[in-house]
C-alpha cells in the first residue's frame, strides 16, 4: 500500500467526521438568522472560549507561522506578541461592544457603523471593505487546504486540482453548517490541532536533533541571524515589528466574523474573562514555531515555504500520522473558510446591496442573492489561490491592513461624542486608499514600517481633523439611548431567511 493511500483516506475521514458533527449539531436546533449567526447569545464561557479559539487559530497559525519561521525567521515572532496583545487591547472595548450589540441586536461591524453614526451609507461602505479584505483571508484557507491535499497525496494530486477539491469541500461545508454547528466542529478541530501541534513540536526536533534545545543550539551555530530580526529578510526589522504588532493587535477583532463570535457570548463579563484567559491558548503556537525552525535545517531549500511544516512531518513520521495532521489542518481551514464565505455573502447582500440599490428587496430575495454570492466569493478566492501563491502570513497581513481601518471609527465611536460621521467616513476612505496604494505599488513595508500601520495613522488623523471641521450633530445619542429607539433596520429574522433557504435542500423541515 502506497503512503498516500494511507494518508489521504485518514484526512478525508476526519473531514467527513467533522462535517457530520456540524450537520447533526446544526439540525438539532431550529434556526432563524439570529440563532444561526450568533447562536442566540446563549453560550457559556467554556464554549465561547472554544469558539473564539477555533475561529482565531486558523490555517494561518498552523501552516503560515511555521512557513514564516522557516523562510523569514525572527520576524515571525510578531505572531506570538500580537496574539497575546490582541486580547489585551480587546479588554478595553469588546465588553462595551458586546453591550451595544446586545441592546440593539447587532450582528456585524457594519451594523455598528449604521447604528452609531446613523448612516446606511457608512454601514454599506464598511460592509464592502469587509468583503474585499475577507477575500485574501479566504484565499489563505483555500491555499492551506490545497497544500494539505497536495502534500498528503505525495504530489499525486497537483496544485490546481487540490485547490479545486478544497474549494468544493468548503462550499459543501458552508451549505451544511451554521454558528452552533461550527462551534461543535471547532471542538473536534481544537483538540486535534492542539494535540498535533504538541506532538510535532516536540517530535520533529527530537527526531532530527535530539531535542528542542539542541535544535536551537544547532541553528544558533549555523544561522544565528535567522533567529533575530530582520532574520532572512531585508526590511522586517524592529520598526516593522512594533508597527505590525500594533496594527494586528488593534485589528484583532475587526473581522466581521470574529465580532459575530463576540456577540454570541452570554454577557459582557464572559467577554472580559475571555480577554484575560485567551493569551494562554496561544502558547501552543510555540510548538508550531519549533517545527518551522527545525525545517530550516531538516528540509532546506523548499521553493514554497508554505509547505515547510507538512514536508518535514512527511519526512519524519509514518503516513498515518501525516493523515491525522492533514485532517486536523483541513478542518482548521474549512471551519473559518465556511464562516468567512457565509459572513461575506450575507454582509454584501444585506448590508451593502439592499440598503444602497434595492431597499424594497424582500428577505427571500436577499437570501437568494446571498446564496449566489457564496458561489461567486468562493470562485474569486479560488481563482486567486490558483493563480498566485504568496505566503499565508502575507495574505493575512493584507487583510489586517484593510479591516483595521475600522478601528478609529469603533473606538472613538464608543467613547467620544465628538467624532462625526463625516470624520469617520473620510478617515476610513483615506486609510483604505492608502492601504491599496502602498500594497499595489509594492511599498510594504514603507520606510521600514508596516504599510497598514501607516494607513491607520493617517486614518486616525483625518478622522479627528474632519470631526473637528464637520462636527457631529446628535449622532452619539445611541450610546445612551433606550432600547427601542435605534434598532438596526431591518433585521432578517423571519423563518424565510437565508439559513432556511440553505437548509431547504437537506429536506429536514
Amino acid at each position: 500500500m502506497s503512503a498516500s493511500a494511507i494518508a489521504l483516506p485518514i484526512i478525508f475521514g476526519l473531514i467527513a467526521a467533522g462535517s457530520a458533527i456540524g450537520f447533526f449539531a446544526g439540525a438539532r436546533y431550529k434556526m432563524d438568522l439570529e440563532q444561526w449567526t450568533v447562536a442566540a447569545r446563549g453560550f457559556g464561557v467554556v464554549f465561547v472560549w472554544l469558539l473564539m479559539a477555533g475561529e482565531v487559530y486558523t490555517t494561518f497559525s498552523f501552516l503560515g507561522a511555521s512557513g514564516w519561521a522557516y523562510s523569514k525567521g525572527g520576524p515571525t515572532l510578531y505572531i506570538l506578541a500580537y496574539l497575546a496583545l490582541g486580547y489585551v487591547v480587546s479588554y478595553y472595548y469588546l465588553p462595551q461592544m458586546w453591550e451595544i450589540g446586545k441592546r440593539h441586536g447587532l450582528q456585524t461591524t457594519s451594523d455598528f457603523f449604521t447604528l452609531r453614526y446613523r448612516s446606511r451609507h457608512l454601514g454599506a461602505f464598511v460592509a464592502l471593505v469587509s468583503v474585499v479584505f475577507m477575500i485574501p483571508y479566504l484565499q489563505l484557507q483555500l491555499t492551506g487546504l490545497g497544500i494539505i491535499v497536495e502534500v498528503a497525496s505525495f504530489e499525486g494530486i497537483g496544485r490546481t486540482t487540490a485547490m479545486l477539491i478544497s474549494g468544493a469541500l468548503i462550499a459543501v461545508f458552508v451549505f451544511m453548517s451554521g454558528m452552533r454547528a461550527v462551534a461543535w466542529v471547532s471542538v473536534l478541530k481544537d483538540f486535534l490541532l492542539l494535540g498535533s501541534a504538541i506532538a510535532i513540536g516536540i517530535g520533529v526536533p527530537t527526531v532530527w536533533f535530539g531535542g528542542i534545545g539542541p535544535m536551537f543550539a544547532a541553528l544558533a551555530r549555523a544561522h544565528p541571524a535567522h533567529l533575530v530580526m530582520p532574520g532572512s529578510t531585508q526590511t522586517m526589522g524592529h520598526a516593522w515589528f512594533i508597527s505590525t504588532v500594533l496594527l494586528t493587535s488593534v485589528g484583532f477583532y475587526m473581522w466581521p466574523h470574529t465580532l459575530a463570535a463576540v456577540f454570541s457570548a452570554k454577557s459582557g463579563e464572559t467577554v472580559r474573562r475571555n480577554a484575560v484567559a485567551m493569551p494562554l491558548y496561544s502558547l501552543s503556537l510555540a510548538f508550531v514555531f519549533f517545527v518551522g525552525f527545525a525545517a530550516v535545517i531538516a528540509v532546506p531549500h523548499l521553493a514554497d515555504s508554505n509547505l515547510a511544516l507538512l514536508t518535514v512531518v512527511r519526512k519524519t513520521f509514518p503516513p498515518w500520522f501525516l493523515g491525522i495532521i492533514g485532517g486536523a489542518g483541513a478542518l482548521t481551514a474549512m471551519v473559518p473558510g465556511a464562516i468567512i464565505i457565509l459572513t461575506a455573502s450575507t454582509l454584501f447582500a444585506k448590508n451593502f446591496y439592499r440598503p444602497l440599490f434595492a431597499p424594497a428587496m424582500s428577505d427571500d430575495q436577499v437570501a437568494r442573492l446571498a446564496r449566489i454570492l457564496v458561489v461567486i466569493v468562493t470562485a474569486i478566492a479560488l481563482y486567486l489561490s490558483i493563480h498566485n501563491s504568496p505566503t499565508l502570513v502575507a495574505l493575512l497581513l493584507i487583510g489586517y491592513a484593510g479591516v483595521t481601518q475600522f478601528f478609529p471609527g469603533i473606538i472613538l465611536g464608543l467613547y467620544s461624542r465628538r467624532v462625526s460621521r463625516a470624520g469617520v467616513f473620510s478617515g476610513m476612505a483615506v486609510g483604505v486608499a492608502a492601504v491599496a496604494f502602498l500594497m499595489l505599488t509594492k511599498r510594504d513595508p514603507f520606510l521600514g514600517v508596516n504599510a497598514g500601520f501607516v494607513a491607520l495613522c493617517l486614518n486616525f488623523v483625518v478622522t479627528v481633523v474632519i470631526s473637528g471641521l464637520i462636527p457631529a450633530s446628535g449622532e452619539a445619542e445611541v450610546l445612551e439611548a433606550p432600547l427601542a429607539d435605534f434598532r438596526v433596520p431591518p433585521p432578517l429574522r423571519s423563518r424565510s431567511d437565508i439559513v432556511d433557504l440553505l437548509l431547504e435542500e437537506r429536506g429536514d423541515r
Binding site: L77, A84, L85, P214, P224, V276, P279, L283, Y415
Partner: protein
C-alpha cells in the same frame, strides 16, 4: 459608553511594553534560556504572564463597579 477605569489601562500597558515597544532590548539569541533563543523565551514568558496582569485589571474593574 462608560470606559474601563483608567488604572486598568496601566495593567494593559505593561505587557505591551514588554512584548512590543521594548523589542530592541530583548531581540537576541543569547543568553539561551531553557534551550530557547532569548527572544523566543521572552515572548513565551510574557504570553504566560499577560493573563496575570489582565486578571488584576479585571479585579480592579469589578471592585470599582461595586
Amino acid at each position: 459608553m462608560k470606559p474601563p477605569p483608567l488604572i486598568t489601562l496601566l495593567f494593559g500597558l505593561i505587557p505591551f511594553t514588554a512584548m512590543c515597544f521594548s523589542v530592541s532590548l530583548w531581540d537576541r539569541v543569547h543568553p539561551i534560556v531553557l534551550g530557547l533563543p532569548f527572544n523566543l523565551f521572552w515572548l513565551i514568558l510574557w504570553t504566560a504572564l499577560t493573563p496575570l496582569f489582565m486578571w488584576c485589571a479585571l479585579r480592579i474593574e469589578r471592585r470599582s463597579r461595586g
